[in-house]
Symmetry: C2
Subunit: 287 residues, 2 copies
C-alpha cells in the first residue's frame, strides 16, 4: 500500500495523528520536496517521526517512481507531501500510475491543510475565489503572462484570485551544465513583493485594468505557523512590502468583497485609510 | 487564547498532532456541530481525546459566544471545527468577534483538510475549479436557484464547480414550535442523488444548458475515510446513484477537463463507454 500523506503547512507536528502512525511503521518514508517545502528541515522531521526520510526530487518522482513503489504490493510505503496530497498535479499523476500499474498498486491519500483553504486566514471568504493561478519567476527572455487572462476572468465575476508563487529547489546551474557539470543553484522562493511587481509589469503591458497600482490585494507568509503574517494593501504597496521568510502567497481581491471580508482584512492594511477609501470606491459589491 | 482547530474530515485521528496536544490541555473543549459533522460520534472523540466535549450549536456560537470565550484572556479554550477553520463563514465571524472584543481576545487557527481540497480525490485538478456553491434542500415553497447563475459563470470559463450539500442538524419541528414546544427533527444530509435531481429541475426551468441530463459530474462520499466513495457519470445517472452514508458532495465538470483528469475519473464512471463518448464530444478542452 502506498500512502500519500499530507503534512500540512508549517512543521513536523501538522501531520495528522493517523498519518504519524503510518509514518512510524512504514517500510520506507519519502518526502516530496520540489513542489513545496515545510518551514522546518528534514532532520527535524526525522527526529520527531523517529524514521529516516528519503528526499524525493522531481527526477525521482517523475522518472524513477518504480524505486519508490518497490514492494508496495505487500508493504506500506509512506510518501509525504507538503500541504494536501492533491495540491500538486504531480501527485495526482503519481496516484494514476499506481492504478495503471499491472497489477494495480493499492494506494490511499490522507488529506491535510492546504494553502488553498488556509488563505481563509485573510478574512476573505473561500466561496468568493475563482480559479487559482501560479506565478513563475520572470527571466530576461521568459515573462509568461497567461496568468493575466485567468485573473481577468475571475475579476469580471467579482471573484478573488489566489496566486501561488514559484519556488526553485534543486535547479541545476545552466552554465555549469553546459560544461557537463551538475551544480545546484541555492533554493529561491518568490516573495509577495516580487509577485506584485510582476503583476504590475504585465498590467502595464496589457492595460486591462486587472492588476494595476490601486487594486487591493493581500500577501500572506508562513500560514499555519506561529510566525504567520498577513499584509493587505494596494498592489503598489505590496510591491515594496517585506513579509520575511518563505513561503509567501498573494490574493488579488475581487470586487464582490463584502463588508465582513473588508472588516476582517482592514486590520492587516499597510495604510488603513487608503484601504478603506479604495474599498468603498471600487469594491464593496461593485461587481 | 482561543484555538480554532480544524479536525479534518473523517474521524478522531484526523486532528493534527499539534491540535491534539492543545485539546488535551485546554481548559474547555467545544465542538461546532451544525455546519458539518465528522463520521464518528462525540463519545468517540471524547474517549480518544480524553476530554469532555461541549457541543456548540448555532444558537450558542452566534448568540452566546461570551460563554465560549469566558476566561479566554488567561486560559486556553479549544474550539473544534470539522474540516478547516475557514471552511464556514461562521468561523471567520467568530474570529472577528475575538479581535473586536475590548480588550481583544487572542486566537489562533490550526488549519486542516477541507472538502475544498479533498475533492482532488476525484482526479479533477484543483486549479480548474471556479467558485464553490451551496445547495439547500428544496421545500414546497422554497426552491432557490441562484446557484445556477454561479455554475453558469464557472461553466462559461470551462471550470468545474464544487457543490456543497445541505445538512440539517438540530432543526426544530415547525408544527411543534407553533404549539410552543421545541422538538428537534432527526438530522438530514443531502445525497448526491438529491442534489443532481434538484440541478436537473432547475435546468428544466432555466434552460441555459448548464446542468442538464448529459452533463458530466462526479459524486463523492465520506472523503478522507477508508470507506470513501467516488462515482462519476452524467447528472441523470447520478440522480439515481446511491453513495451510501453521509457526507456527500458533488462536482459538476467544466469543459476544460483535460486528458489526465478524464483518465483518472473514468475509472469511477457508472457507464465508462457513455462517459468517454460524452467527454470526447463535449469536453476535452471544448471551452
Amino acid at each position: 500500500m502506498l500512502y500519500i500523506i499530507g503534512l500540512g503547512l508549517a512543521d513536523e507536528r501538522d501531520i495528522s495523528v493517523k498519518g504519524l502512525e503510518i509514518v512510524r511503521t512504514a517500510e520506507r518514508v519519502y518526502l516530496e520536496a520540489y513542489t513545496a517545502v515545510l518551514l522546518v528541515d528534514k532532520d527535524v522531521l526525522e527526529a520527531y517521526y523517529g524514521r529516516p526520510i528519503i528526499i524525493a526530487d522531481r527526477e525521482m518522482v517523475e522518472s524513477r517512481s518504480d524505486d519508490i513503489l518497490e514492494g508496495a504490493h505487500e508493504k506500506e510505503i509512506a510518501f509525504l507531501v507538503v500541504g494536501d496530497p492533491f495540491s500538486a498535479t504531480t501527485h495526482t499523476d503519481f496516484a494514476l500510475r499506481c492504478r495503471q500499474n499491472d497489477p494495480p498498486i493499492p494506494y490511499r491519500t490522507l488529506p491535510n491543510a492546504s494553502i488553498l483553504t488556509a488563505v481563509g486566514a485573510t478574512g476573505l471568504s473561500l466561496y468568493h475565489f475563482g480559479q487559482t493561478v501560479s506565478m513563475v519567476f520572470f527571466t530576461d527572455d521568459w515573462r509568461p503572462d497567461s496568468f493575466y487572462d485567468r485573473i481577468a476572468e475571475n475579476a469580471r465575476l467579482g471573484l478573488h484570485t489566489l496566486v501561488l508563487l514559484d519556488i526553485k529547489v534543486k535547479e541545476p546551474n545552466l552554465q555549469a551544465l553546459a560544461r557537463g557539470k551538475i551544480v545546484y543553484e541555492p533554493p529561491r522562493f518568490m516573495t509577495v513583493a516580487q509577485c506584485a511587481d510582476q503583476m504590475l509589469e504585465v498590467e502595464e503591458k496589457r492595460q486591462g485594468d486587472v492588476c494595476g497600482n490601486e487594486k487591493l490585494a493581500v500577501g500572506v507568509a508562513r500560514l499555519g505557523s506561529e510566525g504567520e503574517q498577513v499584509v493587505a494593501g494596494t498592489l503598489k504597496e505590496l510591491a515594496s512590502a517585506d513579509l520575511g521568510k518563505p513561503l509567501h502567497s498573494l490574493v488579488l481581491c475581487g470586487k464582490k468583497m463584502h463588508e465582513m471580508e473588508w472588516e476582517y482584512m482592514r486590520d492587516f492594511a499597510i495604510d488603513k485609510e487608503k484601504f478603506d477609501t479604495i474599498w468603498k470606491r471600487d469594491y464593496s459589491g461593485h461587481a
